[in-house]
């Protein structure tokens, strides 16, 4: 009992609890941070894959629709992931300053991430915003444009 002398029990107890709390919270914060980083990176990766997939299909559709007669029709169904790493996202198709160059801007809602993919097409792609999931690319042969709808 010589070691306990000069230190009251409450102080010893509080000190112990404090040290354990600091260590535990440190561990939780770092592990939580790691998981959050991984999730963000997973979402970005998912957005990148979804954007690249839509870009590939749009370019393929453009190649086929380029030779359409005025009465011709083309509808291509494209599957993009409904969610990326658990996050919902939007695909916004917008024109760029360069003619025939279209930007696909993918934005996830929580966590908030953004990825852009640019494509070059012969036909103009109509600006629109759609949710991730099943999409349909429709060619408008009379106006020489491509449209993307929710499928």
């Amino acid at each position: 009992m010589m070691d306990d002398r000069g230190v009251s029990m409450p102080i010893q107890y509080v000190t112990l609890v404090a040290i354990v709390a600091i260590l535990a919270s440190g561990l939780l914060v770092s592990a939580g941070g790691f998981v959050t980083t991984q999730q963000d990176s997973g979402v970005r990766h998912g957005l990148d894959v979804a954007g690249t997939r839509l870009a590939t299909e749009l370019v393929a559709a453009d190649r086929l629709a380029g030779s359409l007669d005025e009465t011709g029709t083309m509808e291509l169904t494209v599957d993009t992931p409904t969610r990326v790493a658990g996050a919902q996202y939007l695909l916004k198709i917008e024109p760029t300053a360069t003619p025939n160059r279209t930007r696909i801007r993918l934005t996830s809602i929580a966590p908030s991430e953004e990825v852009t993919v640019e494509i070059v097409t012969d036909l103009d792609v109509q600006p629109t915003t759609v949710d991730g999931g099943r999409l349909v690319i429709v060619a408008d042969a009379a106006n020489n444009t491509l449209e993307v709808h929710d499928g």
Binding site: A24, G32, G42, R53, A60, L64
Partner: protein, 327 residues
């Protein structure tokens, strides 16, 4: 003191709640991490799935093969001889249906519905002089019309004998060449005219010059005769195999137009013209009795409808297929 020690010892079993809570929180975080990693693996799997765009390649390939098949059927009909337009249309239509059914059966095995159908054909004429003789009509008239109201000329090649051509002395304007009886191919749409003069220069050269409506002559294209002849292509615009920019003036003539020969007696050779007009004038002979030049019925082009349906792609297009080696 003793009571405190007892109290302390008695509470030993309760210690460690904080550690336990931390452990649970960490476990939850690791589960979350596992879920994120799972999502990433799913994304990777998704990224390697076959693109729906593969069907677009398949559809354009089918369209190409269908146009080749119908094109071959039309070419065979055109080569077979001077049938009636109705007979040729019926044959091509029947062959198209057979081809469509065969390919549809074949593609049904991999869940593709395909079809091709003949919508229409354009009745055309091929005018041919394949034995070397003066550029006159079948009754030896020197000034005559080959083609009337053509909106398209698929091919027009001519091989002239250099020695048969006039060698004019005055070549400053179109009027002088006409006066000297130079052989001329006249393209005329009623308001605008292009006169293509073909004459000999020197001992072995052929000159081609084009005059517009006001009679102004182009500088001229020259070619030396090989084996006594020079070939002129009015569609690809070459003289003796070399591009002749003077003939570019023909492209600015609005259709429909007529094609006539003037002073055809002052040139001899062979030629073949393909147009999208069904008219065969009395100036032309019958191909079956060996007369020259003759006109025969051909299908200038065909219009087909191609359909391709797969689980991800619905494609329908109407395309024009030329009936021979013309565009």
């Amino acid at each position: 003191m003793a009571s405190l020690i007892e109290h302390w010892t008695a509470r030993r079993g309760d210690r460690g709640q904080l550690m336990l809570v931390t452990a649970f929180a960490l476990a939850a975080l690791f589960i979350l991490l596992a879920l994120v990693l799972n999502a990433v693996i799913y994304t990777e799997n998704f990224a390697t799935r076959e693109s729906a765009g593969v069907d677009t390649i398949d559809a354009s390939r089918y369209e190409y093969v269908a146009s080749e098949a119908v094109g071959t059927a039309v070419e065979n009909e055109n080569a077979a001889g001077n049938s009636s337009y109705e007979t040729m249309y019926d044959t091509v239509s029947r062959q198209t249906v057979i081809w469509s059914i065969l390919t549809a059966r074949h593609r049904a095995t991999d869940a593709r519905a395909v079809s091709v159908g003949l919508l229409s054909t354009t009745n055309g004429t091929r005018i041919v002089q394949n034995n070397s003789r003066p550029m006159t009509n079948v009754s030896n008239a020197s000034d005559w019309r080959l083609v009337r109201d053509a909106t398209a000329v698929g091919s027009f090649t001519m091989t002239v004998n250099q020695s048969s051509l006039v060698t004019p002395t005055n070549t400053t304007n179109a009027g002088e060449l006409v006066d000297e009886g130079v052989y001329t191919v006249v393209f005329d749409n009623g308001t605008d005219v292009r006169q293509v003069f073909v004459y000999a220069t020197g001992t072995n050269n052929v000159t081609v010059r084009v005059a517009n409506s006001s009679g102004v002559l182009s500088p001229g294209c020259h070619a030396s005769a090989t084996g006594g002849t020079v070939t002129i292509d009015f569609v690809t615009r070459t003289v003796g195999g070399d591009h002749c920019s003077d003939l570019d003036a023909l492209r600015t003539l609005d259709s429909p137009y007529n094609i006539s020969y003037r002073d055809g007696a002052n040139a001899s050779g062979t030629y073949a013209v393909v147009t999208n007009r069904p008219a065969i004038d009395a100036d032309l002979g019958d191909p079956d009795d060996g007369s020259s030049p003759y006109g025969e019925r051909i299908l200038y082009d065909a219009t087909i409808e191609v359909r391709y349906v797969s689980p991800t792609l619905t494609y329908e297009n109407v395309i024009r297929v030329p009936g021979g080696d013309w565009a």
